[in-house]
Subunit: 355 residues, 2 copies
DNA sequence: CTGAAAGCGCTTACAG
DNA sequence: CTGAAAGCGCTTACAG
């Protein structure tokens, strides 16, 4: 038999245990069911009774046991974020853009009283395994840049298993599941148009255009569209991954190719930062000789010299949208993929007058 | 009665439900207890039986229900990270140093099969409330720069409530609970000694030295110790919080004070970055006229121009140590506060020869 | 508006 | 080495 907290001589022995709804019930002189109802906000509870129960609960610092509640209700009120990042094995080195996304997702979850479980995932593993399947989370948010060709298989598996998930990334036709992403095409297009508007003509794109990195290839297509609209010649330098090193290598290759250039649109800020360093070393003046634009608006973008003009993805909105969409799916409603508007942040590296 | 998965004509109806240990038991022809034992690695299970059970579990993609398991075992196998950051209301703007810590903590947890719950906490709230008390987490990690005077009350409350927690921050005598932190005193001391070694004599400290920010005041004391050891005059400019703005304001105040200076030790990289920008604007050449050193080694430190010499806190080790210490406490062992060694990262802003 | 009771899916003493 | 049974702390139909 459960001896209610403070209900007898056993009080001292039990003082460090967490109170249960039975303890509250005992003190309030009602049944445990009524305590549960009162605390869950069931309208079928007498106002006075409710107040009494709430007061006692507060006094005893009672908190509903989530494991019991979740088990009974068959849901966890928890969302899991799965991070996967191919090129970075060290989580402390993770792309700052995703870290900022994580902050926004956390806020969006907290607002809705959802808990957030976080995990860095190896590519090889069964993603579903540790989360939805074990009842730890009701839904999954997928975050990261990775090789989409590998990635896609996992997505299909998730869809097949009926997992509720939403991913951040390029939004394209025929993709498995629901995706939320920046409007990469238009983001890169307005960036390129901005450079053209500044009088640049020989603009190179630094990034990847393969189907392994869909957001990068969307950005590349946006760049192409802007160039073609003005009949300008395109120029492309591969930078496989999003890192300073890759950006530096691509910029070096561009310089060594001998192809003239007066503008660079980089597929990411990290790539742009690497390019900036190489340009400086090689005696190019940015923005006088070359205008440079990045993508992501990572915190470091305003620290580099010259400060980097870039395309910002609204992480605040992104987090909100990801969580909102996932919650919709979890409630069985239809949810749709969405592209979020991208916004040009003009700093010094493009050479525009201060706006 | 539970109809086992695939055990009869009901198969189709149940195909999308998660299998339970009863389903496995039915198929394996053993009792549910044996399934539970086999899957938990109980040695008292026949090897052949175990293999059979494991095979079926794999086939059905069975995963132990965490809510049920946690409820029964009265533990959650989960650690919660509570972020609190006073000056930054927007989680997506959170200090990059802590984001990097978060990455390390995640890795350290994953390594030990612990889940990680994350939460950004308002200062005013009852910290314990949502985590340990509701059975969602077995222990807490506290992360953030904040006003220690407010903060301390919360710590005392946590100690009083018997919450298992460990915090990242300044390690000082007489503090409530267990803390893991960088050796701020020695970190700032070696930074200051490095500048002295480069021939700097008029070195100013930019930061806070009040008891509201213990790590900053420890750094200030480290700076003082180094200056005093060489009989050099100290100079101090307040920068209340760790931000570029505060750093810029402090640097401006330093310049306007008319006190000559040829070196700056900043209490954080963000402060240093703000100072760097003001120095450039005001025509100082860094590192020729002024040597600058920051603290934290945030990702942006290598992006600023000139790249920032700084004191690195080993986030990899920090995450490991935090989790390890917390786990110790959770197992009822005695755990002690610890200072982690700080390391000088020499870049261009101090003017040293490339090492 | 309230109570008694069943049951969520496990783990683990207890008995063999 | 294995099974039957109790129980973790809730939520919620059901009956009043």
């Amino acid at each position: 038999m459960r001896i209610p907290l403070g209900g007898g001589t056993d009080e001292k022995l039990r003082v460090h245990e967490r109170p249960t709804s039975f303890d509250i019930a005992y003190r309030a002189g009602v049944s445990q069911s009524t305590v549960s109802r009162a605390l869950r906000g069931d309208p079928n509870v007498n106002e006075e009774t409710r107040r009494k129960i709430e007061a006692i609960a507060r006094e005893l610092k009672y908190k509903v046991d989530k494991n019991a509640s979740n088990l009974r209700r068959q849901r966890s009120n928890t969302i899991a974020v799965l991070f996967f990042e191919d090129p970075s094995p060290d989580p402390s080195q993770i792309n700052p853009f995703f870290l900022s996304m994580l902050g926004s997702i956390t806020r969006a979850c907290a607002k809705r009283s959802y808990d957030l479980l976080i995990s860095f995932q190896k590519f090889a593993q069964d993603w579903n395994e540790d989360y939805e399947d074990s009842g730890k989370a009701d839904g999954l948010i997928l975050l990261g840049y990775g090789d989409y060709v590998d990635y896609r298989q996992h997505l299909e598996q998730l869809v097949e298993q009926g997992t509720r998930f939403v991913r951040w990334g390029a939004v394209e036709e025929g993709q498995p599941g629901v995706s939320i992403g920046s409007d990469n095409f238009n983001g890169a297009r307005i960036a390129t148009e901005h450079l053209i508007g500044l009088g640049r003509r020989a603009i190179a794109f630094l990034g990847d255009s393969s189907n392994h990195a869909p957001e990068f290839s969307e950005r590349h297509r946006g760049y192409s569209a802007a160039m073609q609209a003005d009949g300008l010649p395109e120029s492309f330098q591969a930078a496989g991954v999003s890192s300073e090193e890759a950006g530096a290598a691509a910029a070096l290759a561009l310089i060594e190719s001998g192809v003239p250039f007066d503008g660079i649109v980089a597929a990411s800020d990290l790539i742009a930062a690497g390019a900036l360093a190489v340009l400086r070393d090689k005696g190019f003046d940015v923005p006088r000789d070359v205008s440079v634009i990045g993508y992501d608006d990572i915190p470091a973008a305003s620290f580099v010299n010259p400060a980097l003009t870039t395309v910002a993805q609204d992480t605040w909105l992104a987090g909100e949208k990801l969580v909102e969409t996932l919650l919709k799916m979890m409630q069985g409603e239809v949810a749709e993929s969405a592209k979020l508007p991208a916004r040009l942040i003009i700093r010094r590296s493009c050479g525009a007058k201060k706006v």
